[in-house]
């Protein structure tokens, strides 16, 4: 097992005819993902990478049985693309697009209420269940199938952690990039809940960063609801307050946003804290040995 995506995932790519959409759809196909459809309004009826392109998500789902969408639509239109997928009843939407206005994301969250869609992202690297399905922009080859789940606000830092784990022979069940925006579709808690219920996940690595209070909320969940071991690292111990560190959500605005506060909350929840980012793999190995 794994979470969110697996062998039966039938992927739709929204924005498949754009540069990035096309490049990464190709990479997903090469990894073995079943990419069954693309959507670009106005290009319905054509083919891209041998995949049929549709004008609407609804039509694409009806014709191909797509059950997950990977979205590369430009920022000004991305929220509309997500809303379309929610409206069509798409079970999973993974939004890669960076730079969506916050108030557009607010609308998306409001529309998601009571709907069956799960949103991952925006501004994320996507989801991969190694050996089964890659729905994202991460480098497929560095992954190894296994039993450690990863959930992270960062893309490239996750690649770094995955490569540390893989080089130690520690495989991953699923790696989820929840994204660097202030209002992610899925929070740490949402994903931890799925990992806790997943039989193939033995331990979870959580990679947080400065800004917001999502890590504190995760700590609360870990201490009350999780039986599985969690290893955590928080990026941005050296970040100055009030500065946006690349990610829209990575800005210390109050004391809760500091790395030290997040580390404190997570260690109180008995998560194992990696002291520095080059040590996350080794810390995970120790945690697995002590199970």
């Amino acid at each position: 097992m794994s979470i969110l995506v697996n062998e039966s995932t039938r992927l739709l790519v929204q924005g498949i005819t754009g540069n990035e959409g096309s490049f990464h759809a190709q990479r997903c196909i090469e990894y073995g993902t079943k990419v069954v459809a693309g959507v670009t309004p106005g290009k319905g009826g054509s083919k891209q990478l041998g995949v049929p392109v549709f004008n609407t998500v609804e039509k694409a789902m009806a014709e191909t049985g797509a059950n997950a969408s990977l979205l590369f639509v430009p920022p000004a239109f991305a929220a509309d693309g997500i809303l379309e997928a929610i409206d069509a009843g798409m079970p999973l939407v993974v939004c890669i697009t960076e730079g969506i206005p916050v108030l557009d994301t607010v609308k998306v969250h409001r529309y998601l209420r009571g709907k069956s869609t799960r949103l991952v992202g925006p501004n994320c690297s996507g989801v991969i269940s190694p050996g089964k399905c890659k729905a994202g922009i991460m480098v497929g080859e560095i992954h190894l199938p296994g039993n450690v789940g990863i959930v992270s606000r960062s893309g490239t830092l996750t690649y770094e952690v995955v490569s540390q784990l893989t080089s130690l022979g520690i495989g991953q069940s699923t790696c989820v990039g929840i994204g660097g925006d202030a209002l992610p579709g899925s929070t740490f808690i949402d994903i931890l809940e799925l990992f806790e219920a997943d039989r193939d996940t033995k331990a979870v690595v959580l990679i947080g960063e400065i800004g917001g209070t999502m890590e504190q909320e995760a700590a609360e969940f870990i201490s009350h609801k999780m039986t599985k071991r969690v290893v955590a690292f928080i990026a941005g111990s050296t970040a100055p307050p009030g500065k946006r560190m690349g990610h829209a959500g990575a800005i210390i605005t109050g004391s809760a946003g500091k790395a030290s506060e997040k580390i404190k909350a997570l260690s109180q929840a008995r998560a194992i804290i990696a002291r520095h980012p080059a040590e996350i793999g080794l810390t995970t190995r120790k945690a697995l040995e002590n199970l």
Binding site: E20, P75, A76, G99, I100, P101, V102, L103, T105, V106, K107, H109, R110, S125, I137, M138, V139, I142, S152, R153, S154, G155, T156, L157, T158, Y159, E160, S163, Q164, G180, A182, L183, I207, E209, I210, G212, T213, M214, E217, A235, G236, S237, T238, A239, P240, G242, K243, R244, M245, G246, H247, A248, G249, A250, G254, R275, H276, P277, A278, E279
Partner: protein, 390 residues
């Protein structure tokens, strides 16, 4: 993106929110003219992006136009140091001259997007004039919050609840509710990330007035807020960060160390800085190079490092995903060809097109320190910055 108080107040006024009479002055004589226009006792306020101006001497209440002129001359052309700025302070090139208000109560009102509910949140308190975070810690019962459903917008009953929470009464309730409705409209129309009136005062006539105001805007939405984007005052920002943007490097933050860093991805870039500190060094900057289609941004980053006298060594740490390692490598080689690199450079590459990237570096014959992994890269650059030769 931030704006000045005078610009924020102009926007509030546009949305029907009462603000003190006054205007911005760029010179002492202009300050005097405005004081004459106002006709009553003036206040002269330094216009800077940083908070904490009052305690730092940036706000002067005076008695006459002549005194307003003197106060303005003491502020304009200086640098103001507040608890929110570094010791070097921020430049003051303009002042807001407005009429002094007769204040009986100081309240607090703001709107932001709440990370937990993921909705706009209005916060009101009768404890205005101080940092709201302090109020939240010491007397949380004096803070009132209302989530706003974007589908139906701000509702009058919410305004009444907040207004009663601030212990307003009589005609002030409907006045406050109207003010809140207008502030929400401004917040949505202009893609604000924060709209804060602190203090919102009750004057001796019992009227509400926005005595100070802070607006900041969602950077992601600036493409559809051209009028807001034009308000940006580059002079108030860190010069190196402005320069970086001019070079096409959007995600650059100045830090206080001596190791220049070039990394792809924000999380990894923060982690690199953390790891450098763990190895007993200090980064001179945060730099997320982003996704590249060409080498220009790499070359420009090196131009910035070379021009920055603080830099003693540079670390390039790239884990190729969207960004391709070969493009970065080509950029580094171009930088070496275009300029004299006066400091040691430690390079660590991994990910997409790694072999090609390594081949480009090896064949170029440039001199650099190769790192074998993440930890090694930080360790080696800290040693290099200390002048330890390998």
């Amino acid at each position: 993106m931030k704006v000045h108080e005078y610009q924020a107040k102009a926007l509030l006024a546009q949305y029907g929110i009462p603000v003190p009479r006054g205007r911005v002055a760029f010179s002492p004589s202009e300050a005097r003219d405005i004081a004459v226009e106002i006709g009553s006792k003036p206040v002269v306020k330094a216009q800077v992006y940083a908070g904490g101006r009052g305690k730092a001497g940036g706000i002067k209440t005076v008695n006459s136009p002549a005194e307003a002129e003197t106060a303005a001359s003491q502020l304009i052309g200086t640098r103001l140091v507040t608890h929110q700025t570094g010791p070097e302070g921020v430049p003051v090139s303009k002042v807001l001259v407005e009429e002094a208000s007769d204040v009986t109560r100081e309240l607090y009102l703001s709107i932001l997007v709440d990370g937990t509910s993921r909705l706009p949140l209005m916060i009101a308190s009768e404890a205005g004039g101080m940092e709201i975070e302090e109020v939240a810690q010491s007397t949380p019962e004096r803070i009132f919050r209302r989530d706003i459903d974007p589908a139906i917008g701000f509702q009058l009953f919410q305004g009444r609840k907040l207004a009663y929470g601030m212990n307003l009464n009589g005609g002030q309730i409907s006045e406050a509710t109207r003010l809140m409705t207008n502030l929400y409209k401004l917040f949505i129309d202009k893609d604000c990330s924060l709209a804060e009136i602190n203090p919102l005062v009750v004057t001796s006539e019992g009227k509400l007035l926005a005595l100070d105001a802070k607006l900041s805007f969602d950077d992601n939405a600036l493409y559809r807020q051209k009028d807001i984007q034009e308000l940006q005052d580059k002079e108030q920002e860190e010069p190196l960060e402005v320069e970086a943007r001019d070079w096409g490097i959007d995600n650059y933050v100045k830090m206080d160390g001596n190791i220049g860093c070039m990394v792809n991805g924000a999380g990894l870039a923060m982690a690199v800085n953390d790891l450098i500190q763990h190895c007993d060094g200090r980064a001179a900057n945060f730099l997320d190079i982003g996704t590249l289609n060409n080498t220009a941004r790499v070359v420009n980053s090196f131009k910035m490092f070379v021009a920055d006298p603080r830099i003693k060594a540079v670390l390039v740490n790239i884990f190729g995903g969207m960004a391709r390692v070969d493009v970065i490598a080509r950029g580094i080689v171009e930088a070496y060809q275009q300029m004299n690199i006066p400091f040691p450079v430690v390079i660590r590459l991994a990910g997409t097109n790694l072999e090609e990237g390594q081949r480009i570096l090896a064949e170029s014959g440039i001199s650099f320190i190769q790192a074998k992994d993440f930890y090694d890269s930080a360790y080696k650059v800290v040693e290099a910055a200390k002048g330890v030769t390998k």
